[in-house]
Symmetry: none
Subunit: 221 residues, 4 copies
DNA sequence: TATGAATGAGCCTTCATTCAT
DNA sequence: AATGAATGAAGGCTCATTCAT
C-alpha cells in the first residue's frame, strides 16, 4: 500500500495527487459506503448540469441532508469532483496501459484503445461530462494539474501507436498522428452529450461504427 | 430594410427570436460600433472562461467602464451571448444552405459543408467555444430554444446529403447517417479547443486532413 | 395537523397559497421563534418605511446579521411580507366569520365587525400599514392574488349585513351598501397612519367613536 | 411678484417653498407647455404605480425621449412630484379658504369643504394617489416639509368649523372634533383608490352620499 | 454524523443623475 | 432640447463554507 493516512477517511485539503490516491483506505466500511453514495449522487448531478452549475445544496438535497453536512465527508466541492475525475483517470489509464502492454499490432491496439474509450462512456458518464463542460475551469486550478499530466501521457500512447502503424505501413503516411489522435479523442468524449445508455446503439456498437469509418472511411471503394 | 424600430438601438427585452433579428438596424453607426466592440470583448471572455464563469464585471473591466454601464447597451448578460451565438448561427446556416442549394453530388456537398464548418473555427471561435462549453446550460433556457431548432435543421441537411450519397452508392451503405453526422459535427466543433490560428495547420488544412480521413479512412488500402 | 412537510422549516418557493398555509408546522420551536422574531423586525420596518423602501439589508442590520443570512429563513423579501399579510388576513377573517356566525341582528353584527377591525390596528399595525401603502404594488403580483380574493369575501360579509339591516329597516334605505362598506373599511384601515397605541384613545375608544358617528351622524337631532 | 428668477423656466434645486411658487413665470409659452405636458405624463404614471415605483425612464419612455433629457426640464424626479403636489395643495387650500371666508353656518361650511375635497378626486387624482401611497416616504424629506405645514393649516380650518358647529349645537357635543376631521379626511382621500371617473357615481354623488351618512348616520330614526 | 444558523464575498441588475456633444 | 454614454450607489439574491451544538 502506497499511502497510509492516520486520519482515515477524511481527505486533507490540497495535495498534488489525485483524490483517489489521497483517500484513506482504512476507514470504516460504513463511512466509506456513505461517502461513495454521496459521490455517486454528486456525479449524477454534475453529469446533468455541469460542475459549476451544480450547487452543494443540490447535492445535499438529493442526499436528503443539509448542505453543511456534506462537509463532514468532503472538504470542498472540488474534492468531490476530484474524486470523480481521478477515479476515471485511474481506470482509463490502467486499461490503456494493459492494451499497450499486450504489444499487438498497431491496428489492433488502436481498436482496443477506441473500444476502451467508448466503454467508459456509460460507467464514467459524469466524469466525462465534467471534463467536457468544465475542463476550462478546472484546468486552471493547480489541484487538477494531474489531469493535464495524465492527458499528456495518454497522448503519447496514442501518437506512438499511430506512428508505429505508419511505419509498418498499416496506416497512411499522409495523416498527421497528433491531429488524428485529437480528433479521435474528442469525437469519443463528446459523444457523452448525446449518448444515452439503452438507446439504439450501445457503447460497443458506437465503437464499432466509429472504427469502421476511421479505418476505411465512408467512401465506397 | 426589414426592421425599423422607432426605438432603434435600445434593447427591447424578451422575444422569441435570436438577438440578431431583434436588433434595431437603424441605429447610428457609432453606437453600433461601440456595441459590437463590447460584444467582441465579451465573446473573448466567454470563450476563455465560460459564460457562467465570466461576470459582467469582467466584461465591463475589460471595456474600461462600470458593470452597470453595460446595461446601456444590453439588457442582460444573456442578451450578449445571444448576440454572439445568433450571429454565428445565422452565418453558418446561410452558408450551409448555399452549398446545399448548389445541388452538387453528395461527396462534393459534404466536402463543402465540412470546409464551411472548419472555416468558422477562426472567425467564430468564441461562439463555437461557448456552444461547446455552455450548451448544456444555455439549451435549458427558452430564450435559446432557437439554438436547438437551428441544430435540427442543420442535422437534416447533413443527414439527407449522406443518405443521398448512399443511394448513389458514393458512400458505404453500412454507416449510420445520423451517427456519422454527429461524429463529424462534434469532431469539427470540438477542435476549437486546441485549434490555434497561425499554427502549423490553418483551418482549411484541418478540413482537408479531416476529409481525407473521413472519406478514405486511415488504413492503407 | 393539516400540513406535514418532510422538509419542515425550510422555505419552499412558489405556491399559490398564502405563506402561513405553506409553512411547515413541524419545525422546531426554536427555529420558529427565530423566524418569527425576524418577521416582527421586518414588519416594523415595512410599517415605518414601506415595503419597497425597506431593503433586506435594513432588516438584516436590525437583526444583527448579514443580509444573505436572511435567506436561510426566507426565500425572498416577498415571502416575508407574505407571512405578515397572510397572518393578518387569516386572523381577521376567522374573527369576522365568528361574528357573522353568531347570527345577531345587523346592527350588532356591524358593530362587532367594526370593533374587530379597529381591534387589529394595534396587533397588526405593520400588516395594515403595508396594505395601505403598498397594496398597489403587491396586488399586481400573482403571489398576492389571495389578498384580493380574501378582500372580496370580506366585502360580501359586510355588504350582505348592511343589506339585511336595510331590509329589516334598521339602516336607511338610501345609503349604498357597497359604497358604505368601502368607506367604513378605508376609514378604519387608514387610521393606522396616525393611530398611536397608548395615546388619548385606545383602539376600542376609536371604534366606539366611529360607531357613534356612523350610526347616528354628527348632527344633533 | 415675489420671486424673479433670471434663469427663467428652470427650477433651482432645493428651496423651502413649493415648486409652483418657485417656477419662473416669464418662461416662453412653448417651453412651459412642453414642461406641463411632461408633468401630466409623470402624474399619470405616479398615480398608476406610485412615485417610488415609477422610474424616470418610465416617464421618458412615455414622452418618447431619453431619460437624461428629462433633466433639461426638471432638476430631479422629486421636483416633478413637487410640482404635482404643490399644484394640488395650492388649489385645495385656496378653495377651502374661499368656503371658510364665506362665513356660512358650520353645517354648510363642512358640506362645502367635503364637496371641494371630493371634487378634487378627479382632476387631482395623481396628486392624491401619491399622497396616499408615498406620503410616508415623502414626508421625511425636508423638501416636502410644506406638505405637513399645509396639512396643519387645513386641519385647523376643519377642526375650528366642527367646534363652532358644536358650540352652536348643530353638531353633537360628544364627537371628538380632531378625530372626526381625520376620519372625514381619510375617507375622502382614500376613495381615490377605487373611484373611477365615469362610473356609477360621479364625485359629487359620492360627496352627497357621504354627507348623508356623516350628518345623520346610517340608522333609521 | 447531522443540524441550523450564519458568514462573506460576489453576482446580475436597476436607477437617478451627469455631461460632452 | 435632446442624445448617448457613462457613473456610482444600491438592491435582491446565491453560494461555498464554517462552526457551535
Amino acid at each position: 500500500m502506497t499511502t497510509t493516512s492516520t486520519n482515515s477517511g477524511r481527505p486533507e485539503s490540497g495535495g498534488g495527487e489525485p483524490a483517489a490516491r489521497r483517500r484513506g483506505r482504512g476507514s470504516s466500511a460504513a463511512a466509506s459506503e456513505r461517502r461513495e453514495h454521496l459521490v455517486r449522487l454528486a456525479a449524477e448531478l454534475f453529469a446533468e448540469k455541469g460542475f459549476q452549475a451544480t450547487t452543494v445544496r443540490n447535492i445535499a438535497d438529493e442526499a436528503g441532508i443539509l448542505s453543511g453536512s456534506l462537509y463532514h465527508h468532503f472538504d470542498s466541492k472540488e474534492s468531490i469532483v476530484d474524486e470523480i475525475l481521478s477515479g476515471f483517470f485511474e481506470e482509463i489509464m490502467t486499461r490503456y496501459r494493459e492494451v499497450i502492454d499486450r504489444g499487438e499490432d498497431p491496428r489492433t491496439t488502436i481498436a482496443g484503445l477506441v473500444r476502451i474509450a467508448f466503454g467508459t462512456l456509460e460507467p464514467h458518464r459524469a466524469a466525462i461530462t465534467v471534463m467536457q463542460n468544465d475542463w476550462n475551469y478546472l484546468k486552471g486550478m493547480e489541484r487538477f494539474a494531474y489531469l493535464t499530466k495524465s492527458e499528456d501521457e495518454v497522448e503519447k500512447m496514442w501518437v506512438d501507436t499511430i506512428k508505429a502503424g505508419q511505419e509498418q505501413e498499416l496506416f497512411r503516411a499522409d495523416v498527421d498522428p497528433k491531429l488524428t489522435y485529437r480528433m479521435i479523442r474528442d469525437t469519443v468524449w463528446v459523444a457523452v452529450r448525446w449518448f444515452k445508455p439503452g438507446g439504439r446503439l450501445n457503447a460497443q456498437g458506437l465503437a464499432d461504427h466509429y472504427l469502421k469509418v476511421m479505418f476505411d472511411g465512408i467512401n465506397t471503394h
